[in-house]
């Protein structure tokens, strides 16, 4: 008899917590978020004249000479599709051991690609975040050192002066929070939208 009562209470407890922690909690959070922080709660989407160019928080892959390059990524076109069933772009990390030969080969390939595009830099060491994949595979940022490394190439290929490029980078740079938390970082998508004249 007592056993049966425990089974009953346990089953009811599962139902009650499902309503309380699953439905009510999630609904309250969503309501508060949509009311007070609608831009963030809906994905921090950068929208200009009705076109959505991406999320501030999701990096994209850039290889063009007139764009700033970001972190390495593993492009993935097999996970998601749009409403018409066409594949859309998504990204993933490498999960390679940094002590492996495979990793050494990807780093060397990236170094060669960067050297070819930046002849003016000669043998100057390349910032480490520019030759590595990130944790998410869609890191939206690079370090200020990695941005500075690309300034002359960007100036040459966009017709802007190096100081104009630096001003754009400056505008898209976030300092460590409260002066101490995390690292300074440059939002690559925002820089490129400004280089293209889409974002002011």
């Amino acid at each position: 008899m007592r056993q049966a009562k425990i089974w009953g209470s346990a089953a009811l407890f599962f139902l009650v917590t499902t309503i309380l922690c699953g439905v009510v909690y999630t609904a309250v959070c969503t309501g508060v978020a949509q009311l007070f922080f609608p831009y963030q709660a809906n994905g921090s989407i950068i929208e200009v004249d009705g076109t959505k160019y991406g999320s501030e928080l999701v990096g994209q892959e850039f290889h063009d000479q007139n764009h700033m390059w970001g972190r390495l990524t593993n492009a993935n076109v097999s996970t998601f599709t749009d409403d018409e069933g066409n594949p859309v772009m998504w990204y993933g990390p490498s999960s390679l051991s940094p002590a492996s030969d495979d990793f050494a080969a990807t780093v060397q390939a990236r170094i060669d690609e960067i050297h070819a595009a930046h002849p003016e830099k000669g043998d100057e060491p390349i910032p480490s975040d520019l030759v590595t994949n990130s944790g998410s595979g869609f890191d939206p940022h690079i370090s200020p050192a990695a941005a500075e490394y690309q300034v002359e190439r960007l100036a040459k290929n966009t017709g802007k002066t190096p100081s104009e490029i630096r001003a754009i980078i400056e505008q898209c740079t976030e300092q460590p929070q409260f002066g101490i938390l995390g690292d300074a970082r440059v939002n690559v998508l925002k820089v490129n939208l400004m280089l293209d004249g889409i974002l002011q």
């Binding site: 089974w7 170094i111 944790g135």
Partner: protein, 591 residues
């Protein structure tokens, strides 16, 4: 210097918040009223008891307490398994995702019901909003509550002298959810959303790519104007959904199951260094608070402080090792000086698998915290850590998740080691061992031993079974010693109820899903049962008076002994396996 200051801020803030929270938790678990919250929550609490037909004054002995915890967990397992299998026909599924396979559904249900949150799937591409919010988030709340309830049953057993029993399981779990977990989760959710985390029920957003790419007939990505391109991709995707609310409780409840596959490395889950701080502290906040709660509960705060000191010393030592090796990096990355590894205007060091906004500092902190707590969320890819930087998390998990550990289970696991230490010290001085005035008899020793060796046994058996199957090789992302490390990490993560991964490892095969599923269940419920047997046995023992010959369990000597025993048991069980994985890789790298 800035780096050292940041490490200091994380550690100091963690302790500064855990101490006041410990007093609050004790009040709440004793059923006392607390300011403001009681006015709102007590009526809700009363409705819950009425709905589930529980009388709050009904005190349970260890058997009934244990049966309640097991029955509730079994029903949760069945309920979650059903939700995951039936996902395709349930509501809240705007992306139209199908149900999971039986083995993945079993693995995932076992994972979330055991507070492990090992994930053999990628949330954003495999689970509907219903499965995430109604299925997983609920377990993220109730599993830490079960852990906390069982821990308080043990506390009551330790102080009572043949008293009325261990409390009521349903009352304890309800109070933990309502008064501790929900309020804290609401605060963390608001900070996360404010900083940028999505919280909605909309469809995923499709966005225009600035640089479209092509794919060739093999599905490989090529330049958009490449003649081999058969299709041009000009859209990217931004996953949406109720992310912030689930992320908040995944951190606070020592769960760790990310909304997205890459967990808190995703800027959608963890957008800024501030959210990193808040989430990282959340990993260990309640586990550490419970240690101080223990001291208050047994009316001798030094007992809590001694256990805290042992945990904190191991945590800081682990953090120091990880941070050092990650900042140094590897020769493969330095590429004979072609890559700048220093810290001017960048984090520098081993940035593979790390985010630019966090760098080595915030990533190392997280790696240490998440494996000390049995949380298992990540903000960087542990698979891409240096050999030694990646070995430390394996050790922290393999010790049995007792450096903070899971909510409830971390501390009751550690109390197992405390009893073992008391016993060994007692043998050395030739006295009957006792702890907090209770004599430790054969029954208590048997239960303490089970608490100490379940994790190493479960994880070594799991790793061995996976290694015996030749197909496991196909799951590896790296070769050589690091490939073995991937298997060992998976077995240790499931065996320690942690849930983090060397994420290159593909755990989604029927064989591995089942092995890891059983590992997680064994390591959750065997120690849980042992703890309640221990509580029931201690509860009947009378207190003996403290004399001059009583071994102090709160001085520096005891803290030292406790750390020694923990490391000794860990080293004896883990060293041979570690020698084949990370240690071999490190030697290969430097020699």
């Amino acid at each position: 210097m800035d780096e050292l200051l940041e490490y200091g801020i994380y550690l100091a803030l963690l302790v500064a918040l855990a101490i006041p929270l410990s007093g609050y938790i004790n009040k709440v678990m004793a059923g006392e009223r607390v300011a403001v919250l009681s006015r709102v929550l007590v009526p809700v609490e009363n409705v819950v008891y009425r709905c589930i037909r529980v009388d709050r004054a009904d005190v349970m002995g260890w058997k009934r307490y244990l049966i309640s915890a097991l029955v509730f967990s079994a029903l949760s397992l069945a309920g979650l398994f059903a939700i995951l299998m039936l996902q395709g026909v349930l509501p809240g599924n705007p992306e139209g995702l199908p149900g999971l396979t039986w083995d993945l559904a079993f693995n995932t249900a076992a994972s979330f019901v055991t507070n492990t949150n090992w994930q053999a799937y990628s949330g954003e591409s495999a689970l509907s909003y219903f499965s995430q919010a109604i299925g997983l988030t609920v377990q993220n709340f109730v599993t830490p509550a079960v852990g906390m309830a069982v821990l308080f049953a043990l506390f009551r057993g330790l102080v009572s002298e043949g008293g009325p029993g261990l409390g009521n399981f349903f009352v304890d779990a309800t109070r933990a959810v309502l008064f501790v977990l929900i309020p804290l989760a609401l605060v963390v959710t608001v900070v996360d959303v404010w900083q940028g985390s999505p919280q909605n029920v909309s469809e995923y957003q499709e966005v225009q790519l600035l640089e479209p790419v092509g794919i060739d007939s093999e599905g490989e990505v090529v330049e958009a104007d490449d003649p081999a391109a058969v299709q041009v991709i000009d859209e990217g995707v931004v996953p949406m959904g109720p992310q912030a609310s689930q992320v908040a409780i995944k951190q606070l409840g020592t769960n760790g199951g990310g909304y997205n596959g890459v967990n808190s490395a995703s800027a959608l889950e963890n957008p800024t260094p501030l959210t990193n701080l808040v989430q990282c502290i959340s990993l260990l906040l309640i586990p550490f608070a419970l240690v101080f709660s223990f001291g208050r509960f047994v009316a001798d705060r030094r007992q809590g402080r001694a256990i805290f000191a042992a945990m904190f010393i191991v945590l800081v030592a682990s953090l120091a090792v990880i941070a050092f090796f990650e900042q140094v990096g590897t020769p493969q990355l330095a590429a004979d000086g072609s890559v700048y590894m220093g810290t001017y205007d960048q984090s520098g060091g081993n940035m593979e698998g790390k985010e630019a906004r966090f760098g080595v500092t915030d990533s190392s902190l997280w790696a240490a915290f998440t494996t000390a707590a049995s949380n298992g969320s990540v903000n960087s890819m542990h698979d891409s850590y240096t050999p030694i930087g990646g070995m430390v998390p394996i050790i922290l998990m393999g010790l049995g998740e007792i450096i903070g550990g899971g909510i409830g289970c971390g501390l009751y696991g550690m109390i197992g080691f405390v009893i073992l230490t008391v016993f060994i010290a007692g043998l050395m001085v030739g006295r009957t061992p006792e702890y907090l005035g209770k004599k430790i008899g054969p029954r208590e020793m048997r239960m303490a031993t089970i608490l100490c060796i379940t994790t190493p046994m479960v994880l070594l058996i799991g790793a061995a079974v996976m290694c015996l199957d030749p197909a496991t090789v196909d799951s590896l992302n790296n070769s050589g010693a690091h490939g073995f490390s991937e298997v060992l990490y998976a077995a240790t993560s499931a065996g320690g109820n942690n849930g983090s991964a060397f994420a290159g490892f593909n755990g989604n095969t029927p064989m591995i899903n089942v092995v890891l599923g059983f590992e997680m269940l064994a390591n959750r419920f065997i120690p849980l049962a042992a703890t309640l047997v221990l509580a029931g046995s201690l509860c009947t023992r009378p207190k003996v008076a403290v004399s001059a010959g009583t071994l102090s369990t709160s001085n520096a000597m005891f803290v030292f002994l406790l750390i020694l025993i923990v490391l000794l048991v860990g080293a004896l069980s883990m060293f041979p396996a570690l020698a084949l994985g990370p240690i071999a890789e490190q030697l290969h790298m430097v020699l």
